[in-house]
């Protein structure tokens, strides 16, 4: 009898399931109860990934939950959670982070934004990861786009976009104290307090302090790169009316460390190691005004100022850069099928380097400009089934003038559970001060008189260009299993190369000039597969695998002597990750994760496999205690050339909310 009930129920279930599946997604919201509606996330007003053509790209979102469950305490650690990113640590506080290859000490093809503020430096078009010391407790989500960011994102979105979004002050009222203490990272503390402002606003303040041990070198000695930093900031959000929002936020920080640099000399012994202090400081202030003018239409204006000062006496010198930026974005529906986004932006960067004999810029100080307009039309070709997005960005910069960056993306959704997408886009990496103005002594030779190599920036350096074709699939294969596949093939042109010139004599030396040129070209291919499996409600398994082929694919299109400035040997061919999260009874949770990186080939590093673990316990909603172990498999391992070895390490974490 009981069994027959079961069969009948199953039949009823099957028919209701079929009925539910037949309904379109728009209707399903109306089936939800109040409690469920209160949990539904709405699309962000800003250009979140949902708005980037509803993910006609390889997009992954790292949520606050993911960050907390991993016990991540720095932005790069959190970025390890995104499938497809290559995140390698090369010192106490230094990182190399990229997507789709081109890893280097100065990776330069990524756009990284924090609440709409671009944090890549106009000096070398890369990010100083060491000075990104924001508290992760207030991060709402990190959106990661692998591959060209497309029209809507700012400049430099060639191989990927990382967009860090912090929580609105209205969702962080009250206090939070986080204390993390352990080996290697002695202490990492944050304190935050938020309070309401009137009926519909709030403001929060935070402070943070970090103290890191030096990293071990190959011979067991330490790299003398111990690190201390402190910072603070605020964010204020006001709802001026139901649809008008105002945000004002700012951060300031100061950090000190030491650095050992191997620098070239023009005279014997032609090279030496110098150790000296590194002092960093900076601040930024950003304001954003947005107004929702109807369903899927809004207007946003944003402006910020950012100052970054780096005093790296050993070998480099003191850089100070001030950036001012203003942007406008307007989104609206045109007819029933067109959703149009257009915008304009202008950025001024002023500053430079008080250099040393080894490293200098010529001119030392310079003001550069970047202006852009963009428009993109998302067209619903077949409602709820096929969508096409076409658009272009037109950028003007001080170095190369006008750059056109078009894209076309197509999405096919044969059923609510399957999405196929494809894209063809052509972004550029416009020049930085390094490309145009650098003067760098790269090495000396014991000739008579002595010769040294001087790398010289090229005022005529062109933008590096990519044309990339992408394909992807996203599917919910069952209620418990989803998969995301993406692959790409990219043609690079005008890549950075080094071309030797005619030697000349000066001050009793022979100078061999090497000019930065654009003779590199080649292709790169690869893909990322990611799965999420929820075998039980309180258990989640995530896996990812990334393949990259850019070895032997880069070429130089010039006379002999010119060498590529890209080292494909620094990008691993294979990367894999596996993570498990289990919520156990009694407020206990367990996170285990492992990662594997195939060897870097030139110079050879790795391969390595490492594992992290976190055991957390929340005796009350206000208090969380956790034990975190990082890189547990080996006593020490290296991730990048430079002989910096990361130790196995442990940490106790306490988070108290009030």
């Amino acid at each position: 009898m009981r069994r027959r009930v079961g069969v009948a129920c199953l039949l009823a279930l099957a028919s209701s399931a079929a009925a539910a599946q037949q309904r379109s997604q728009g209707d399903s919201l109306a089936d939800l109860d109040l409690e469920q509606l209160a949990r539904v996330k709405i699309t962000s007003v800003s250009r979140g990934p949902e708005n980037v053509g509803q993910a006609m790209a390889a997009v992954f979102v790292i949520s606050q939950d993911d960050i907390r469950r991993a016990g991540a305490t720095s932005l790069p650690e959190a970025l390890r959670l995104a499938p497809g990113l290559q995140v390698e640590r090369l010192g106490a506080q230094n990182w190399s982070i990229t997507s789709r290859g081109f890893a280097d000490f100065t990776t330069n093809k990524l756009l990284v934004l924090v609440d709409g503020r671009a944090i890549y430096s106009p000096l070398f078009a890369g990010v100083f990861w060491d000075s990104q010391i924001m508290p992760l407790d207030d991060v709402e989500r990190i959106e990661v786009i692998l591959g060209p960011g497309g029209t809507l994102w700012g400049s430099n979105a060639v191989n990927g976009v990382i967009n860090v979004v912090t929580r609105a002050a209205t969702s962080t009222t009250g206090g939070l104290v986080g204390v993390r203490a352990g080996t290697e990272q002695h202490i990492n503390t944050t304190a935050r307090y938020g309070l309401p402002l009137g009926r519909s606003g709030a403001i929060r303040f935070y402070g943070t302090y970090l103290d890191r041990e030096p990293i071990e070198l190959a011979d067991g000695s330490d790299a003398e790169d111990a690190w201390q930093s402190g910072g603070g900031g605020f964010r204020m959000d006001l709802d001026r009316s139901a649809r008008t929002h105002l945000t004002l936020q700012g951060d300031a920080y100061r950090a000190s460390s030491e650095q050992t640099v191997r620098e070239a000399l023009p005279d014997p012994p032609f090279a030496r190691s110098v150790t000296g202090p590194v002092d960093l400081n900076g601040f930024n202030l950003l304001g954003r005004w947005s107004r929702q003018t109807g369903e899927a239409s809004d207007l946003q204006v944003q402006a910020y100022f950012d100052r970054t000062v780096r005093d790296q006496q050993p070998s480099v010198g003191r850089t100070a850069v001030n950036i001012g930026d203003i942007e406008l974005q307007h989104r609206f529906l045109a007819g029933r099928r067109h959703s149009i986004v257009w915008g304009a932006g202008y950025r001024i960067a002023d500053g430079g380097l008080d250099g040393t004999f080894t490293t200098a810029l010529d001119p030392a100080q310079r003001t550069t400009h970047l202006a852009m307009v963009y428009v993109r039309d998302d067209i619903e070709l077949v409602p709820a089934r096929v969508a096409l997005a076409v658009g272009s960005k037109v950028e003007w910069n001080s170095y190369t003038g006008i750059e056109l960056q078009p894209e076309a993306r197509l999405r096919w959704t044969p059923g609510s559970r399957h999405t196929f997408w494809g894209a063809l886009s052509s972004p550029v990496r416009s020049p930085s001060r390094l490309d145009a103005d650098i003067r760098f002594i790269a090495g000396g030779f014991p000739t008579s008189p002595p010769t040294y190599l001087q790398v010289r920036g090229n005022p005529d350096f062109a933008s590096e260009r990519l044309v990339e074709a992408e394909l992807g699939y996203r599917g919910e294969l069952s209620a418990h299993f989803s998969v995301d596949l993406s692959g790409y093939y990219g043609w690079y042109d005008e890549l950075r190369t080094l071309t030797p010139g005619a030697p000349f004599a000066e001050d009793g030396h022979v100078i061999q000039p090497v000019t930065i040129t654009n003779f590199g070209k080649g292709h790169s291919a690869g893909g990322t597969a990611a799965i999420i499996w929820r075998p039980a409600p309180r258990l989640q398994v995530r896996g990812s695998y990334t393949f990259l082929d850019m070895a032997d694919t880069l070429d130089v299109d010039a006379a002999a002597g010119t060498t590529p400035n890209v080292n494909p040997g620094l990008s691993p061919e294979h990367q894999a990750g596996l993570g498990l999260y289990a919520a156990l009874p009694g407020g206990v949770s367990l996170t285990l994760s492992g990662r594997y990186t195939s060897p870097l080939r030139n110079p050879r590093v790795g391969p390595y496999a490492e594992a992290d673990a976190r055991l957390g316990w929340s005796p009350s909603p206000r208090l969380t205690l956790a034990v975190v172990g990082r890189d547990l498999l080996q006593r020490r391992h290296a991730e990048f050339p430079g002989e910096h070895y990361l130790p196995r390490r442990g940490q106790l974490q306490l988070t108290w909310r009030f």
């Binding site: 979140g48 009316s241 109807g294």
Partner: protein
């Protein structure tokens, strides 16, 4: 036949599976346009409201949801209510241009975020049994019954109990329990 003998257990299972399916459908889409969510809320408010004299069980006539003033929904609201019923009554959307046309309204979304846009409509409706819904905390401040607020990318709402009591419309305690804020004399 077994189905009939154990209807209760079966129904709860079916409800559970339906939720699992809708939840999955939603997850695959992740985020929704704000006014799609708000339209679904309007339907839910209607489900949990009782109008004076109706006794809550009157099956005659349509349930009329009105959009007054600025219309942020476009076709979304019409799509949401299409084919839906509340306590057996078909739901209909009206967009009256003035007070006279607003006669049949039972639930009214008042668009606009300036008090000068909202208040004339609220005073027009103040002597009628209409459940007023609008955007923002200032909507309830201005004398509206329910104001949507967006918090942490979710849509929540606040309730002004004085305005609700004045209208004569009764809201289930279930709605009040979910309000992110309940204000008015009656709440103290």
């Amino acid at each position: 036949m077994a189905l009939l003998k154990h209807p209760r257990r079966c129904r709860s299972l079916a409800a559970l599976s339906l939720f699992a399916l809708t939840a999955r459908g939603l997850r695959s889409q992740e985020a929704h346009p704000e006014y799609e969510v708000k339209a679904a809320y309007l339907l839910n408010f209607a489900r949990y409201a009782a109008w004076p004299g109706s006794g809550g069980s009157e099956a005659a006539g349509d349930l009329v949801i009105c959009v007054l003033g600025h219309d942020p929904f476009g076709a979304v609201l019409d799509r949401t209510v299409a084919g839906r019923t509340v306590l057996g009554r078909p739901v209909r959307v009206l967009r009256p241009a003035n007070r006279a046309e607003a006669g049949p309204c039972q639930l009214a979304f008042v668009g606009g975020d300036r008090r000068s846009e909202i208040e004339p409509w609220l005073s027009d409706l103040s002597d009628r049994p209409v459940l007023t819904v609008g955007d923002g905390a200032q909507f309830t401040d201005a004398g509206g019954a329910i104001g949507f607020v967006v918090r942490d990318r979710t849509v929540r709402f606040e309730v002004n109990l004085d305005a609700l009591r004045h209208s004569g419309v009764k809201l289930s305690s279930r709605v009040l329990a979910l309000a992110s804020r309940v204000e008015g004399e009656a709440a103290r």
